[in-house]
């Protein structure tokens, strides 16, 4: 919506109106000269209406121009926030994630997870309960992710183990952080370019290229390049970097489908930065609004968690 306003402002004022006489000077001039108007009453009424219309338009334009960010390039932060809401529903939800991992074009692993997610009212960040569905050896194991507070629970041993963010206990599940994370909360965005890129479905797409810089030290990626559709803020692709500029992973957000009322990407293709032959395909299905009570999102609830 912001984008539309900005683009319309570029065309103002319309050419037809710009040729109209300015409102105040002629009237003042006629008073100063002491002469009566020489044209007909109908013409005078028409002129009055046009003058008023012009006044309103100018006042309206000034009002819009005085609004923050208007008249210039669209706010990068607003575009990023809009893209966050496309990737992540704005209410607690559940979905199934299927991860398929390839090395040198050969499938080497596959996992299925069910994710229950809810945004924190204060930080805006998502807290997730992840239940492993497949393979059978990991079935019903759980992971709680609340920022950097990570707990793993194995129902067979009843062991709740605290993990560090670097500890990847069950393969590529860590890639979830390129999906359910509200980037606008942790990164400062700037528009680096407006360019056409080939999206994940191989369509040329006009995009804003955003440069994201971490605002706090406890995030996984120091900086990110993100391409968002200039027309609707949909995430198209992203590149995630370390502080030293090393590319960690690239992601393509694709296969947009209507899910929970919005067109959302139902597949993310992740390419490892160091080894481009290491590819992970994440597919999202079974989207559903799901109540996630606050008491679920803590270590002590892990042994209790048993969704229907």
């Amino acid at each position: 919506m912001n984008l539309r306003v900005c683009f319309e402002m570029r065309g103002y004022p319309p050419k037809g109106l710009s040729r109209l006489p300015s409102s105040g000077t002629e009237e003042a001039g006629s008073r100063d000269s002491g002469r009566l108007p020489s044209y007909s009453p109908r013409l005078a009424v028409a002129k009055f209406i046009l003058q008023r219309l012009l006044q309103y338009l100018i006042a309206g334009a000034l009002l819009i121009a005085s609004a923050p960010g208007a008249g210039a390039a669209p706010s990068a932060q607003a575009i990023l926030a809009a893209s966050d809401t496309i990737r992540n529903p704005d209410k607690p939800f559940a979905l199934t994630v299927t991860l398929v991992e390839y090395r040198n074009s050969k499938q080497v692993d596959s996992n299925t997870l069910t994710v229950y997610s809810k945004a924190d009212a204060n930080s805006g960040q998502f807290r997730s309960l992840i239940r492993f569905v497949a393979p059978a050896r990991d079935a019903n194991k759980l992971m709680l992710k609340n920022g950097n507070d990570l707990w793993f629970f194995d129902p067979s041993s009843k062991a709740s183990i605290r993990l560090s963010p670097q500890q990847r206990l069950l393969g590529q599940a860590a890639n979830g952080d390129v999906v359910t994370v509200n980037l606008a909360k942790d990164y400062q965005a700037q528009i680096a370019a407006e360019e056409s890129v080939l999206d994940g479905d191989r369509q040329n797409r006009r995009c804003y290229k955003l440069a994201l810089a971490a605002v706090s030290a406890d995030v996984t990626y120091h900086h990110i390049e993100m391409w968002l559709d200039a027309g609707n803020s949909r995430p198209v692709k992203a590149r995630f970097y370390t502080e030293s500029g090393q590319l960690l992973k690239s992601a393509y957000y694709r296969r947009y489908q209507p899910q929970l009322g919005v067109e959302r990407p139902t597949e993310t293709v992740i390419i490892d930065g160091l080894d481009p032959n290491w590819v992970t395909v994440m597919r999202f299905s079974d989207y559903a609004w799901r109540e996630v009570p606050e008491v679920w999102l803590q270590r002590d609830y892990l042994p209790r968690f048993k969704p229907e």
């Binding site: 041993s157 500890q167 597919r283 008491v295």
Partner: protein, 417 residues
């Protein structure tokens, strides 16, 4: 010369093209991916076959053994708010020179759970109520005594999983930043049973016990748990579990339990009551490297165990006293001496995908004996194969040197249904 000067420029120009090629290849791979999301199951069942070879301390011929195990876990919500949990394991053992039936069934859990509201839950039945954030020794795991019925591996993960729960009534109330749990476990039998299919309540419910546990998240980084546990014939013991995250790669933890208690020697040898305040503690850290190797170093202290002088005296004394002491500490899953060091390393996807390497060392500070254990495990989606080796070294009568076997090799295959 000009060509050499142009080469870096050409390489620079080629870099984005290469990245685009990689991206295109990855997208092509994704196009070909056909997946149907698998459905969750209430069951987790596997069958495991193992063969082992061992040599006794001091040499002698190799001993051989074989095992076939069936392990099943069932967890189902059968009505709104109601849940049934059942976990059982059957080990069929054949060991060289062992007479009689060596088969063991372990009824790990069998309980009903009733969730009155999202934040109020009650459980009744045999429950594996396990506490503790440490990896190698859990002083606050008050229901570990008598819980091991069939030991198939000394890997702490295996010891945690293959054990008996205790029969109990448990209630829990939760709030957004913590919970309060109370449980009562009554005395139900007088002595343990060797019968193959016995639920063996005598091993876990020989005396009445209770426990209160409260946890409260004090900050994003600090989430302590406090415990009080007691029962017939013992003073209440206080417990604390604490973890912290000093950086993205490290978890530090502290597990402590303390209270008035008799020494283990006094309990084992029926000596005079020497009750005083005694502490048990595990403190350690787990550091994970960039290539996903998790290294844990843990210091363990057992204030009720023997100090070096007492341990030396016991080893020199009557074998019956030594045997009684070792049997008690093994049953309680306590170290026999005061100070131990535990090292544990896990390397997932070591060198090749799906290969996990695990190494463990237990070191006794009193007699310098060591237990070393190593496992290589390769897994497919439904099948695991593993090779394990264990070396128990030390002087005769030392903590690990007294274990009957010096070297053990075990190969196993596991199939998940």
């Amino acid at each position: 010369m000009r060509a050499l000067l142009l080469l870096p420029l050409l390489l620079l120009l080629a870099a984005p093209a290469l990245a685009d090629d990689d991206d295109a290849a990855a997208l092509l791979l994704a196009d070909k991916t056909s997946t149907t999301a698998e459905q969750s199951s209430d069951w987790r069942t596997y069958i495991e076959a193992a063969a082992r070879e061992s040599r006794r301390q001091g040499g002698g011929p190799a001993l051989h053994g074989a095992r076939l195990s069936l392990d099943a876990r069932f967890d189902k919500g059968f009505a709104p708010g109601w849940r049934a949990v059942f976990a059982d394991r059957l080990d069929l053992n054949r060991i060289d020179g062992a007479s009689g039936n060596q088969d063991v069934n372990t009824l790990k859990e069998a309980y009903l759970s009733w969730q009155l509201q999202p934040d109020r839950v009650a459980d009744l039945g045999r429950i594996n109520a396990r506490n503790g954030v440490a990896l190698g020794y859990n002083p606050t795991d008050y229901f570990r005594a008598g819980a091991l019925r069939s030991i198939v591996s000394l890997d702490p993960a295996s010891l945690r999983e293959n054990r008996l729960g205790s029969a109990m009534l448990r209630g829990q109330t939760l709030w957004t930043s913590g919970s309060l749990t109370a449980l009562y476990s009554p005395a139900l039998a007088d002595k343990p049973s060797d019968s193959v299919f016995s639920p063996d309540l005598g091993a876990t419910n020989r005396r009445a016990r209770w426990q209160l546990a409260v946890s409260e998240k004090l900050s994003a980084a600090l989430n302590p748990q406090w415990l009080v546990s007691g029962g017939a014939g013992q003073s209440p013991q206080l417990g604390l579990n604490l973890t912290a995250l000093p950086n993205d790669a490290t978890v530090v933890y502290l597990e402590w339990s303390g209270g008035r208690a008799r020494s283990l020697a006094a309990q084992a040898l029926a000596n005079r009551d020497d009750s005083e305040f005694r502490s048990r503690m595990s403190a350690g850290l787990t550091y994970t490297t960039a290539n996903n190797v998790s290294l844990t170093a843990e210091y363990q202290h057992n204030g009720a165990g023997l100090d070096q002088a007492g341990w030396d005296a016991l080893r020199r004394g009557p074998p019956s006293a030594y045997g009684a002491y070792r049997a008690l500490v093994a049953n309680l899953q306590d170290p026999p001496t005061r100070d131990q060091v535990f090292l544990y390393a896990v390397w997932q996807d070591a060198l090749v995908k799906r290969l996990d390497l695990t190494a463990m060392v237990r070191y006794d500070g009193a007699d310098h004996s060591r237990l070393q254990w190593l496992e290589a495990r390769y897994h497919w989606s439904r099948v695991d194969i593993a090779l394990q080796t264990q070396l128990n070294s030390g002087q005769p009568g030392s903590n690990f040197g007294a274990l009957p076997e010096r070297r053990i090799w075990q190969a196993l295959a596991r199939y998940f249904f």
